[in-house]
């Protein structure tokens, strides 16, 4: 009964419904009050998650990819969206993370954002959500560009909506780096259009392969692939361009930091993986040699991000630099390009997306419990003052380090396993993993010990009652983290099946 319900073709409309609902929600929030906009966002993001979940179940039952015509015209003429298994899975993941981040940071949003601009925060959250759905589902490279821009502008808005000078400086920096990335991405797809004449992924893949094998356009294509990939890499904060991260994630309101680091950068990475697999094709991409550059920069990012995190003197900066290191892991996996490495990449995207918001949100709560001071001396004993946040931070740290029972462990395990199957450079990968893990342990354990060290006045203790939504939302993410860490097999087979569908 239920199976036949989810097998119906009507479910193929659901990605469109999710996108349009969030767009309408954003527009309607324009005239609502702050709390009205918040409630609308909660409801519609939940509905969007339900829709994505149905699409996922539908595709699991049918076991096929479907493409959905956006309008009356078929593939090379009209826009299209497509969904296999990975697309709804990641859309669902991003939805969950956005909802939990916003819910957990609610009280901070009320403090950080001016009362008459509260509804704009939720508009931007809705728009970021739309952009994430569209980046997951798009089957058209130019649609990808448009929604990348929505994503950039919305995340800039989420960043600077906090009052004060620092968020403005951070937003300016963030915008400049993102604009460089957008410009490179746009000129990359322009060059690709010049040699292929198509914009939709399936046709693009055919013509790109034909153009490559004709041998006439090697130069243009290598440059175009390089620019597209590096544009997205800059936007997601790969190593030499990670300087905006501490500023950005360190100054925004914790919900925004969580959304930006956990979801937005992963959206770009997911689009990048889609483009590599569905536009260039893995073989063509490997022939260009760009994957080696990504691999090296990924490893450099893993080490340098962690070293910067050790040197950081505030908890938010440290968490932000740790993001740079985790992005390095993901790009190292993309650079390896083997099937096992891609599974590890998907796990790591998952792990980072559900862990980093916990760290930012719990970090924000711990800072609040320490009179708003961010440096480590002031944070001494903060976990006694706010036990829920302290425990969440500890769980997040353990997951980032790769402690068993957490998702971070699974992704690192898969990275190590894929290294053995990776010829020539397996020692390099293993060494990088080892060094980076040790560095992770150093800074995360340093902070955790500080949080639990020293004594504190029981009067300053923040109880469960004062932060009910925060605790529930953060612990939902922690529980998801542990659940995936304990039962990774279903997700592994989902990712494997999804990757098979991806390759066609």
């Amino acid at each position: 009964m239920l199976q036949s319900l989810f097998a119906s073709d009507f479910i193929e409309n659901f990605p469109l419904f999710a996108i349009i609902l969030c767009l309408l929600c954003a527009v309607i929030s324009f005239v609502l009050s702050g709390s009205g906009a918040r409630r609308l966002t909660y409801v519609l993001v939940s509905v969007g998650m339900g829709l994505n979940c149905s699409v996922l179940l539908h595709n699991l039952i049918t076991g096929e990819r479907f493409t959905y015509m956006m309008g009356h015209f078929p593939a090379p003429w009209g826009n299209e969206i497509a969904a296999g298994l990975l697309e709804p899975a990641f859309a669902l993941l991003f939805g969950v993370v956005i909802l939990c981040s916003v819910a957990a940071g609610k009280s901070r949003i009320l403090l950080d954002v001016r009362a008459d601009k509260q509804n704009f925060y939720y508009i931007l959250v809705d728009l970021a959500q739309v952009a994430m759905f569209a980046l997951c589902y798009t089957n058209d490279i130019f649609t990808g560009y448009v929604f990348i821009e929505i994503c950039t502008l919305a995340s800039c808005g989420l960043l600077m909506i906090r009052e004060g000078g620092k968020p403005l400086v951070a937003a300016t920096r963030y915008m400049i780096f993102n604009l460089i990335g957008s410009g490179m991405f746009l000129i990359g797809i322009t060059l690709l259009y010049g040699v292929t004449g198509h914009l939709l992924f399936p046709q693009l893949q055919e013509t790109a392969a034909a153009a490559w094998s004709s041998g006439m356009y090697h130069g243009v294509m290598v440059v175009s692939i390089g620019l597209t990939v590096s544009g997205l890499a800059i936007k997601s904060g790969l190593f030499p361009f990670h300087f905006w991260m501490p500023d950005t994630y360190g100054t925004a309101t914790p919900s925004s930091s969580g959304i930006l680091s956990g979801v937005i950068s992963k959206g770009y990475i997911f689009l990048l993986i889609k483009i590599i697999y569905r536009v260039y094709g893995l073989d063509l991409f490997m022939e260009t040699g760009i994957q080696n550059i990504l691999f090296l920069f990924g490893i450099a990012g893993m080490i340098i991000g962690s070293v910067s995190a050790i040197r950081a003197r505030t908890i938010t900066k440290m968490t932000a630099f740790s993001s740079a290191a985790q992005i390095g892991y993901i790009f190292m996996g993309i650079g390896m390009g083997t099937r096992e490495a891609m599974i590890a990449v998907f796990f790591h995207i998952c792990a980072h997306a559900i862990t980093k918001p916990v760290l930012f949100l719990a970090g924000g709560a711990l800072i609040d419990a320490s009179d708003g001071k961010r440096d480590f001396n002031a944070l001494r004993g903060a976990a006694h003052r706010n036990p829920q946040a302290g425990f969440a931070f500890l769980c997040g740290s353990l997951s980032m380090i790769g402690f068993p029972i957490f998702t971070g462990f699974i992704s690192k395990l898969y990275f190590a396993l894929s290294a053995f199957a990776f010829p020539h450079k397996s020692m390099l990968v293993l060494l990088a993993l080892a060094v980076s893990t040790i560095l992770n342990v150093i800074y995360f354990m340093y902070v955790s010990v500080i949080l639990y060290s020293g004594k504190t006045d029981p009067a300053r203790r923040v109880g469960f009652r004062q932060q009910r939504t925060f605790t529930v939302a953060v612990f939902v993410l922690v529980l998801v983290n542990v659940a995936i860490g304990l039962h990774s097999q279903p997700l592994t087979s989902l990712f494997e099946a999804g990757l098979d569908l991806f390759l066609g």
């Binding site: 409309n13 469109l16 349009i20 309408l24 954003a26 527009v27 324009f30 005239v31 015509m69 956006m70 309008g71 009356h72 015209f73 090379p76 003429w77 009209g78 826009n79 969206i81 008459d116 601009k117 704009f120 508009i123 931007l124 728009l127 739309v130 058209d140 130019f142 649609t143 448009v146 929604f147 929505i150 502008l153 919305a154 808005g157 600077m160 909506i161 060059l191 010049g194 040699v195 292929t196 004449g197 198509h198 013509t207 153009a211 356009y217 090697h218 130069g219 243009v220 290598v222 440059v223 175009s224 390089g226 003197r313 480590f376 001396n377 001494r380 004993g381 010990v449 060290s453 020293g454």
Partner: protein, 304 residues
Amino acid sequence: MKKTFWQKLSAWHKGEFDFTLKTTDHVDPPIIHEYTGKEHTIQALSRKERAFSGALYNVLCVLFCLILIGVLLGAVVSLPPHGNAENPAVNEVMDRYVEEGMQETGAVNTVAGMILDYRAFDTLGESFVLFTAVCAVTILMKNTKRTAPDGTPLPMVVAPGIVDYSKDNIVKTVSRFLIPFIFVFGVYVLLNGHLSPGGGFSGGAILGSALILFSMVYGEDRAAAIFSERLIKTVVLVSLSFYAIAKSYSFFTGANHLHSIISQGIPGRILSAGLILPLNVAVGFVVCCTMYSFYMYFRRGRIQ
């Protein structure tokens, strides 16, 4: 007294000692804040270091840009020749847009047919880019306290050196004749988007410029009295909702192979091309309101 490692560690755990905080003997000379007059003794980098990192940044920047330009120029050499009808970009996609476009979309202007019917999802995204920008600019500029460096609030006045056009008789007289024409031209471009060059974005920009000229010449107060914030919000809300709902109807019917009630009409007539005309009008209103509110926010920080 030299402590052992364990003593240090336990001291650190108790919070009496922090080995990560460096103690430095060298202190930079105090620097007086240019605007607040306060003294600052802590500096992130010494001047020498800053000069070095600045120079390093510049050198790396120039190198990076030169390499990028060189690589791009190298790539362009193998690009298909410009203006050639045999290029890969001239393919069946373009043929259908041009040859069947008039029947399938009802638009004589192929570009309008393409962006509002064939590839309408992109354009839907594009109008939401504008909406995002409006939200972001509103957040930044709306009713922000403009303060002098010492913290005293600044009155919202026209800064010296900026010409106040409302006092200029020539500008006033010319604008009185010009504004209706700009307005009519904007409406023409808007309504003829499916027949001739133009459409929602260009028409909306022209309408917006008429509004901006009006508020420049007749004063923002008179403009604000006519185009209130409420009106602008309503127009944006209605237009964008209409856009999203109408387009999702067309996506839905198209994808499920349902019959759409929207007819294409006779190409070439003003009331033709199905949804393209109303969508152009909706986009035009959004763009017009966007441009006008950008101007007002930059000029005085509020629309009212």
